[in-house]
């Protein structure tokens, strides 16, 4: 237990501990139930298979389309996870409990965002090798992994905020992709272009602009989400 004195003494440390506590709560709950990760994973694998039949991914088509197919899969699986992680909080009244905690509200945002990011990265870490095997294409490329991380950060930064909004509306889970996709377009465009740049072995000068957009997006939207999260959960 924290003593009140400690709270006033080390606010920064206390803040990061609150963030870690929320992240840890989500990870522990997921470790026991495994409902979120398993549905995200099965869903992603199904999407990859549907891509095969829908686009007839022969050897030639694969190289050009892989980046796009991967990011569509990540984006769809991401909304699934974001929806679920907020719905769980709302349904059982946990969100109100979290809001009562004597911590800065943005700590709740960062805690949820980090756990969402971890779930998304786990799904990606499984999808990438499976995709490599199924389509016989080498996806183990440091550049691609970096783009995957940068893209996921931006996507989750906006997605966590919007999931907190959509879960409080009447239409709920239907609304999240509608709210998220138009705002996530810069991330998706930049991530797809940078990924395919690395896969096709393009020159770095052609990839750097896309990495810059990803970094700018990540920073801007993390900062804005930090600033406006209070308004989203205020009651």
């Amino acid at each position: 237990m924290l003593k009140p004195l400690e709270i006033t003494k080390k606010p920064a440390r206390n803040y990061s501990r609150a963030v870690m506590a929320i992240t840890w709560k989500d990870l522990a709950a997921e470790l026991r139930s495994r409902e979120l990760l398993s549905s995200m994973l099965v869903f992603s694998l199904l999407v990859i298979m549907i891509f095969y039949f829908a686009l007839e991914l022969d050897v030639k088509a694969r190289n050009g389309i892989t980046a796009g197919a991967l990011w569509v899969t990540f984006a769809f699986a991401g909304t699934l996870g974001l929806n679920r992680s907020m719905a769980v909080e709302k349904d059982r009244g946990c969100l109100d409990g979290l809001l009562l905690a004597p911590v800065d509200r943005s700590a709740i945002y960062f805690g949820k965002a980090i756990s969402n990011l971890v779930f998304m990265l786990i799904v990606e870490a499984i999808v990438l090798p499976v995709y490599s095997v199924m389509y016989n294409i080498n996806l183990f490329n440091p550049g691609l992994l970096m783009v995957t991380l940068l893209g996921s950060v931006g996507y989750i930064a906006v997605g966590t905020l919007l999931a907190a909004i959509s879960v409080q509306t009447r239409t709920r889970d239907v609304l999240l992709p509608i709210l998220l996709f138009p705002l996530a377009i810069p991330v998706l465009v930049a991530a797809v272009k940078a990924s395919s740049g690395f896969l096709l072995g393009l020159d770095m000068s052609e990839i750097t602009p896309w990495l810059n957009i990803l970094i700018v997006y990540d920073i801007v939207f993390t900062a804005v989400a930090f600033m406006v999260f209070d308004y989203v959960v205020e009651e």
Partner: protein, 237 residues
């Protein structure tokens, strides 16, 4: 219910006259464009409506910040008005652009940066309206709406930058947008500026009307709630 103020009534007439004048200028005063022919005349209204859409977009983003700072519901009415006007005018811009693009570029639609960004902006606005529809509590509706317009105001410029980059790295098949390469004579510039000015007045008039409408609908909502409350207490006695 307060009647329209005198200034607003005058503005109604001025807007109508100005739009008519802009139409006549575009049709008869502006010279015939050599390459594109008569269809180029749609350009004057295309630019003007895009300008109004842009004004609405900026107004919506600024107003959303003001709302979050003040938490005063009147700014929510203003923000909604700005979004709706921007939605409609960008819609008109896209349609007018298509009419021009069909003969000029040989296609109704192309994934040109400005066009694509306008289309995505329309999606953001539609999502905003859907979001509002899903919330009953007016105060929460206003807060979420403001947060969403603010996010849209940040993401749409980035969308534009990324799509532009998307097109410049790849070979551009269709010229870099017609208006920049189009050489305009003095009377053409005059017509364009006049229609932009005319539509700016239209923007103010519509904005005013829409804010009034928003105030009325809030009043109706309030009266309905009050009526149902008195009915409720009446039956319990």
């Amino acid at each position: 219910m307060s009647p329209q103020s005198r200034v607003l009534k005058v503005l109604n007439v001025i807007s109508a006259v100005l739009v008519l004048a802009a139409f006549l200028m575009a049709m008869f005063y502006a010279p015939l464009e050599k390459v594109m022919g008569e269809v180029q005349r749609v350009f004057y209204f295309h630019v003007a409506t895009a300008w109004v859409g842009m004004l609405g977009f900026i107004a919506a983003a600024v107003v959303s910040i003001i709302y979050l700072r003040t938490q005063d519901l009147k700014w929510d009415i203003i923000g909604l008005a700005a979004v709706e006007i921007s939605l409609i005018f960008f819609g008109i811009t896209i349609v007018l652009g298509s009419i021009w693009a069909r003969p000029a570029w040989g296609t109704w639609w192309t994934w040109e940066p400005r066009l694509t960004t306008a289309a995505i902006l329309e999606m953001v606005y539609l999502a905003y309206l859907l979001l509002r529809q899903g919330i009953d509590d007016p105060e929460r509706r206003a807060r979420f709406g403001a947060v969403y317009t603010l996010l849209g105001g940040l993401s749409v410029p980035l969308t534009f930058v990324s799509i532009r980059l998307f097109r410049t790295i790849h070979p551009v098949i269709i010229g870099n947008g017609g208006s920049e390469t189009m050489a305009m004579t003095g009377s053409m510039v005059a017509t364009m500026l006049f229609s932009i000015a005319a539509f700016s007045v239209v923007f103010v008039t519509l904005f005013w009307h829409r804010i009034r409408l928003g105030q009325f609908s809030n009043k109706v909502e309030y009266l309905k709630m009050k009526a149902s409350l008195t009915e409720f207490t009446g039956t319990t006695h």
